[in-house]
């Protein structure tokens, strides 16, 4: 297999080293509160109309069981509701279920009641049997991407017409949060039976809208579903998602009025949009993070033993790297204060955040040099970092490179295309890699797979019984406070061993034309359009 070696020009590095040394005091970033929605439309909305949303990435199959694209959630939201959703505070709230689950037998049994008035868009009734069938499909379909999210489920059964009971072989608290994501989307059992895997090309769910058609790489069209249980509060005739992968182009299209809503606006464009007439913006802190993963393995990608570099064997070198980063200054400079620095996989302000999880390692370049000297590391210490070739990631990496040179690190950046970087991660073909995680509602989804021994996303190869125990406990405890405390302990340990060094947290920035209302976006980043409407021109 060919290995791509892209070398960053020394010129760029020199330029940044000269220009980006944050020695002088930086202005504190402006306080940017979350703006999660335009508010529910009340009076003065126009009934009807077609809303066009520019989507930054194309969803894969529109099948909740096999989909692995996050953008599937955007398109499914209006046409395939979930058992649970999250609200503006990131708390889990009922959607197709009517209450949070009742937990019994120390977390081994979960029971939840369902809406009685919901109907699938093909006219089939929504009931416990449909939910049981879908959850079973998630657990048994051979190409399922949901299996690991649902945990050690033993049985799923319909207790009566509108009550579902799930039993586990071991307690698994993240289950409810999984049902607030793709695992909680329920398709009509009749449609699944008739179409099989093809149902992803024509999904049938419960929602304000129903699927009309899809033109590959171009658009996905939905129309109002008259069978929806809350149809009185649906205003648009149609929603058309248009795929526009380039951030500048999405911004320009909102300004020109060709699209009404656009997701994932770049911090580079947001200020221009905020100043533009006729455009409003929504912003919400993401549950995900961007981080630097260090390869600790003592084998090469083919499994042969190698002589690992000092950074893999001596935690002091990694500690030095972590405290040589002025996360706040870097994030503010590179992203104009739109993104926030991160020190852990748990987003601040969420139900699981604690002082421990919010703690940022203090910036101390002198101490970093001392640590490097103690570890017997050569100064400058060379480190090769693979970084995604997206604009944002590259700009951050270059600023980081300049800053780390102050503390005795010489970073060589290797910009690598997204799929290639995922592949390098899997195979352990990196010294350090800078990549993000989109984030999950439950902290389990942001920590367990990255830190426990031999877990699927444990790219660093880190392993310790203490971490395994903490993260297993976090998934089994049932009270939020207990769980938050456990994850706090885990974060403290993470910041000692630094196998993954957390850098910053993005904000989901959404632009919309100001004649649109009823749009909301919460911490999962999904733009909710079910109750969107155009404002009545006469009243604006």
């Amino acid at each position: 297999m060919l290995r791509r070696r892209t070398v960053v020009t020394a010129g760029t590095a020199a330029l940044l080293a000269a220009g980006c040394v944050p020695r002088q005091e930086l202005e504190a970033p402006p306080d940017r509160p979350n703006v999660v929605g335009t508010g529910e439309p009340t009076s003065g909305v126009r009934e009807g109309g077609d809303l066009v949303m520019a989507l930054s990435s194309e969803p894969d199959r529109l099948d909740p069981t096999t989909s692995s694209s996050l953008y599937t959630r955007y398109v499914m939201q209006p046409m395939c509701e979930k058992l649970y959703d999250i609200d503006s505070d990131g708390e889990i709230v009922p959607m197709l279920a009517t209450e949070l689950p009742t937990i019994e037998e120390g977390g081994l049994t979960l029971t939840f009641p369902l809406r009685t008035d919901a109907v699938f868009s093909d006219g089939e009734p929504f009931n416990a049997a449909a939910v049981a069938a879908m959850l079973t499909r998630h657990l048994t379909h051979e190409a399922s991407s949901r299996k690991s999210e649902l945990g050690p489920v033993d049985t799923v059964e319909a207790v009566d017409e509108h009550t579902v009971k799930v039993t586990f072989s071991a307690p698994f608290s993240p289950f409810t949060a999984a049902l607030a994501d793709r695992a909680g989307m329920i398709l009509s059992p009749k449609a699944v039976e008739e179409m099989g895997d093809d149902v992803g090309n024509h999904p049938v769910g419960v929602g304000a809208f129903r699927f009309v058609g899809r033109v590959p790489q171009t658009s996905i069209e939905l129309e109002r579903d008259p069978l929806y249980y809350d149809a009185d509060n649906v205003h648009l005739d149609r929603i058309i998602y248009r795929i526009m992968t380039d951030a500048n182009i999405r911004a320009a299209n909102v300004q020109s009025g060709d699209v009404h809503v656009a997701d994932s606006i770049s911090p580079q464009d947001i200020e221009v949009l905020e100043a533009a007439r006729g455009v409003t913006t929504l912003q919400v802190g993401s549950l995900g993070y961007q981080a630097l993963t260090i390869n600790l393995r003592d084998t090469d990608p083919d499994g042969n033993p190698t002589d690992p570099p000092l950074i893999a064997t001596d935690p002091r070198v990694r500690q030095a790297l972590s405290i040589a980063l002025d996360r706040e200054a870097l994030t503010n400079t590179v992203f104009n204060g739109w993104y926030t620095p991160a020190g852990s996989p748990i987003a601040p302000g969420t139900p699981f955040s604690t002082p421990e999880s919010d703690h940022l390692p203090a910036y101390d370049p002198d101490a970093a040099r001392t640590l490097l000297a103690e570890a017997g590391a050569p100064i400058p210490y060379p480190l090769q970092v693979k970084v995604s070739n997206s604009q944002d990631a590259l700009r951050y990496a270059q600023a980081m490179q300049a800053q780390l040179s102050q503390a005795g690190f010489a970073l060589a950046l290797l910009p690598t295309e997204y799929t290639a970087i995922l592949d390098a991660q899997d195979r352990g073909d990196f010294e350090a890699v800078q990549l993000g995680w989109s984030g999950r509602v439950d902290p389990h989804g942001n920590a367990y797979n990255f830190w426990t021994t031999d877990a699927s996303n444990n790219y660093s190869g880190y392993s310790s019984p203490e971490m395994d125990d903490l993260l297993a406990r976090g998934a089994e405890q049932t009270s939020i406070d207990d769980r938050a405390a456990t994850y706090g302990e885990a974060v403290t340990l993470m910041q000692e061993v630094n196998a993954v060094i957390y850098l910053y947290r993005q904000r989901s920035l959404t632009a919309l034309s100001s004649d649109v209302t009823g749009v909301a976006t919460f911490a999962d980043g999904v733009v909710r359009l079910s109750h969107a409407a155009f404002l009545d021109e006469k009243e604006t």
Partner: protein
């Protein structure tokens, strides 16, 4: 003529076969495979293995290649690994877009290019020739992506006279279709227009200096008629070649243009397929593009031999 055609046809076939092999191996040399791209950030090793087995990626390369050849010959292009849609359908939707965009861009390019070229020739030695030449140089040097962004910013956002994106099929509404494609066609056609302008100018200068043009002038034919009838007409053979060659270039230029204007054409389809390592789609698109290159070259050769019979014997000897 028959032998000439046969030789060219066999050559074309060999070209196609070689490019099929190159593209088959080329996409597999990229780091990461469709399974890796499909599973995204949250993949488990079991999931990756399941997807690979499902797509037949766990088979030996030779087996995969033979299957690919067999399917190609039987016109079975398979399904996209990413969206599960039929590639034949995807192509059927994408080709008209790129074709329409290319034809529109060529028309724009020919109109602008010939006008500029003739103007530059007529004003030879005068200051405004410099202006025309500078315009041509600018057209050649400005990259598509920048021109596209600038076009959107000025014509769509600031002036609001053309839409910034969107595509309407020609047969749904010809007027709206052309309206939506105007800006992309301008952007895509600019480079070609510059090439045509230079060629028109150069070849007009040459033609207008020939004896028969002088004779025509001497017989008192109106200068305009000399320019169009004798000058431009005889310069056209060069233009046919240029347009033929550049048509292929337009398809690659469409990759950038289609991405900027969110047009659902072949270029966009290729780019997305490469990013998601959608092997069957990349292979199919490259085959179709190679096929059209080969076909266009073949047709240009045939057209030559019609325009100039001497080429026929030359071709047959080779």
């Amino acid at each position: 003529m028959g032998r000439f055609l046969a030789v060219r046809a066999v050559e074309s076939l060999i070209t196609l076969l070689i490019s099929a092999a190159v593209i088959f191996l080329g996409v597999r040399a990229l780091p990461g495979d469709p399974a890796r791209a499909m599973a995204g950030e949250e993949a488990t090793p079991e999931q990756l293995a399941a997807i690979r087995a499902d797509l037949g990626l766990d088979q030996p390369l030779l087996v995969q290649f033979l299957a690919f050849l067999r399917n190609t010959v039987t016109f079975d292009l398979g399904t996209s690994t990413r969206t599960g849609q039929e590639i034949t359908q995807m192509l059927a939707a994408a080709i008209p877009v790129t074709l329409q965009l290319s034809v529109y861009a060529i028309i724009v390019a020919i109109i602008i290019g010939i006008t500029f070229g003739m103007y530059a020739e007529r004003r030879r030695g005068k200051p405004d020739e410099l202006l025309a030449n500078a315009g041509v140089l600018l057209g050649l040097s400005v990259p598509n992506f920048w021109l596209g962004l600038l076009g959107i910013l000025i014509l769509a956002v600031m002036l609001g006279i053309v839409p910034a994106s969107g595509y309407v099929p020609f047969f749904e509404s010809p007027v709206r279709s052309i309206y939506h494609l105007t800006l992309p066609a301008l952007v895509l056609g600019t480079g070609l227009a510059a090439v045509i302008a230079r060629q028109t100018r150069a070849s007009l200068i040459e033609t207008m200096g020939t004896d028969y043009v002088r004779t025509a002038r001497a017989t008192g034919i109106a200068p305009r008629r000399v320019l169009f009838r004798y000058g431009l007409r005889n310069s056209l053979i060069v233009l046919v070649t240029i347009v033929g060659l550049q048509l292929g270039g337009l398809i690659s230029g469409a990759v950038v243009t289609e991405r900027i204007f969110a047009l659902p054409g072949l270029g966009r389809m290729t780019l997305d397929a490469v990013f998601s390592r959608d092997y069957p789609v990349i292979q199919a698109v490259v085959l179709v593009v190679t096929f059209s290159y080969v076909l266009i070259n073949f047709l240009v050769d045939v057209l030559y031999s019609v325009v100039n019979p001497r080429i026929r014997t030359g071709g047959a000897r080779a």
